[in-house]
Symmetry: C2
Subunit: 358 residues, 2 copies
């Protein structure tokens, strides 16, 4: 990959999957962050081709995914299902684009860096396949804050319980949660007998294995060995790769909650050295991309309803464990469509854009 | 405390707080379990005196709390606020009743046993003050299952994240959740921008410090030293006392979720010896008061919507930690008004009734 010509041309960007849930947030983000791109091409499946979408205040026509759309493209963002990325990201890379991929297809490929700009920006330059992967939304909802604490204290173990939003399962997840909330709203007899919520939502479960309204569902992803869900293994494997800690102990339980957008996590983090509550709070407050919101005396702590639509990772309930001077207990919230997906992808693309412009 | 006279008289029971949320479930439980009592007296504040409530198929008039109501009472259940129990439980005990108290007033008193019949039934006999305490609902939602695993493997550490139901905050919590669900139901624009859910529920928060519908709230109870909530400390202190493990390491983060009734917990439990997934599942399946519901291949795991209204502790998602052969990760659900409150109180009272009858 050479730098762009010295004429000062701004890089050409392709957004693949522009019409999806994350794609919509991406266009919003591209319209509000510093404008570092020349042309922006919007790409989607043939079904969506011809649609016009707004980006940077202009209407842009969506073009159908094909090898030629990547000609002249410097950076290609992919927000598409794993199988689509697996097939098309190498095509884009072969045509000279640096791919920033938000699917799970390449995250654990040793020749593909997994990047969170606040944590491991330098890894973005080591991309033998021309592909950079964007982490899973659950990992991203905590990693900036955990990375900052790791840098100071040295992380040795994580125990994570998630409170994941419906939009992590895409637009279908959002739709079914709204449908269910509409069906149960105003019915004060529900929630007292086993199965009554299930009947009230008429088994319209969408992408979830149980009702989500008035419920929590301890499952996300597909079944893996040992009873683990794929989502739980992603939290373990991706955290290890991003932090460069292949032996990090991680135990995650991933649970879906009836929230539209913004993932929350309860984290028990064990470090190599002793921790201090005030010092940890100050470290977090001073870290880029993190907001400390931790004053329980005034009922100040992050909740999804107050965090959704914002960029940072919000951290509250910072406590030193009572029985382990090397452990902290925290509660974190992050918008799973922004930092958890589109924003981090945009940040990686900006790193590449700066690099290409030399 | 002597046993009852040899005529075979059944013990007289007083239910103090009969008109509350737990009291209502208690009358239901008393009407469906084996009938071991003679007279049942229903007691409440003066405001509720004269009301008639159904128990064992009969209408019984509620009497106002006063010292005399305990005359001739063998067992008195208290489901009232801490301050009311603190004042009145000793009065009942002085008049000869064995008190089974569901408040937090006496749980950590060294002269008051804290009893879960499946775990430490024998402790119920050691009651120098004539008072037996019933644990907090969050502790009760996991302790039967954790106790069974402890008996086999020897527990050394717990990391707990809770998903607590609105009814843990009483009828006011239930009411405000229904109100909020009614206000948001059908509004598909909500949940995308910070503060919009807060506006939609018109800051009608009831006993919670943030909106509960379409949200999760990382707070339960009052603020204690080090940023801990009282609920989190109860999980630690009560688990230690019930299991007889004063040095047990416990780190809990307690979070309220928009579920009416049934608490859930994600638990990372570390033991003194190596664990095995299949063996742990078999142990749980064979434990009284526990239902193993753990077949993720068929999407079988407990959720509050399927557990509410039932007696047992439901356990699923049993996994051996990938990075610690001595640790298990689990997801548990328990009805916080039944096993979490009224049922456990009734079970303790039945232990005492059997003891009194010799």
């Amino acid at each position: 990959m050479s730098t762009l010509d010295p004429s000062g041309r701004k890089p050409t960007l392709a957004v693949v999957g522009a019409t999806g849930a994350v794609g919509g947030v991406m266009l919003d983000i591209l319209s509000t962050r510093q404008d570092v791109y020349g042309e922006i091409r919007l790409v989607a499946s043939a079904r969506s081709a011809g649609k016009k979408l707004s980006v940077r205040g202009q209407r842009v026509e969506v073009v159908a995914l094909a090898p030629e759309v990547f000609d002249g493209v410097d950076i290609a963002m992919f927000d598409v299902p794993d199988a689509v990325s697996a097939e098309w990201a190498p095509v884009a890379a072969e045509r000279g684009a640096v791919v920033v991929d938000n699917s799970g297809a390449f995250r654990m490929d040793p020749d593909v860096p997994l990047v969170v700009p606040e944590v491991n920006a330098d890894d973005a330059r080591k991309r033998p396949r021309g592909i950079i992967a964007n982490p899973n939304c659950t990992t991203l909802s905590m990693i900036v804050a955990i990375g900052a604490l790791h840098e100071h204290y040295g992380l040795s173990e994580l125990v994570v319980a998630s409170y994941q939003a419906a939009s992590g399962a895409g637009q279908a997840g959002i739709d079914v949660l709204y449908d269910q909330l509409e069906r149960i709203g105003g019915k004060r007899e529900l929630g007292h007998r086993a199965g009554d919520v299930r009947s009230a939502v008429d088994d319209d479960l969408g992408p979830f294995p149980a009702p989500l309204a008035m419920n929590v569902v301890p499952w996300a992803g597909s079944l893996q060995d040992g009873g683990w869900s794929s989502e739980e293994l992603k939290v373990r494997n991706e955290t290890r790769k991003i932090l460069g800690l292949p032996g990090l102990k991680v135990a995650a339980t991933c649970v879906r909650v009836p929230v539209v957008t913004t993932h929350s996590l309860a984290v028990h983090a064990v470090f190599e050295s002793r921790v201090d509550q005030r010092e940890a709070q100050a470290l977090l407050a001073g870290s880029p991309g993190v907001v400390l919101n931790d004053n329980p005396e005034m009922y100040e702590f992050p909740t999804p309803a107050d965090v959704v639509g914002t960029d940072p990772t919000w951290v509250g309930r910072v406590r030193r464990s009572l029985d382990d001077p090397k452990a902290l207990d925290l509660f974190l919230c992050g918008d799973n469509l922004r930092k958890g997906a589109a924003l981090n992808t945009a940040q990686i693309a900006e790193l590449v854009a700066a690099e290409l412009r030399g």
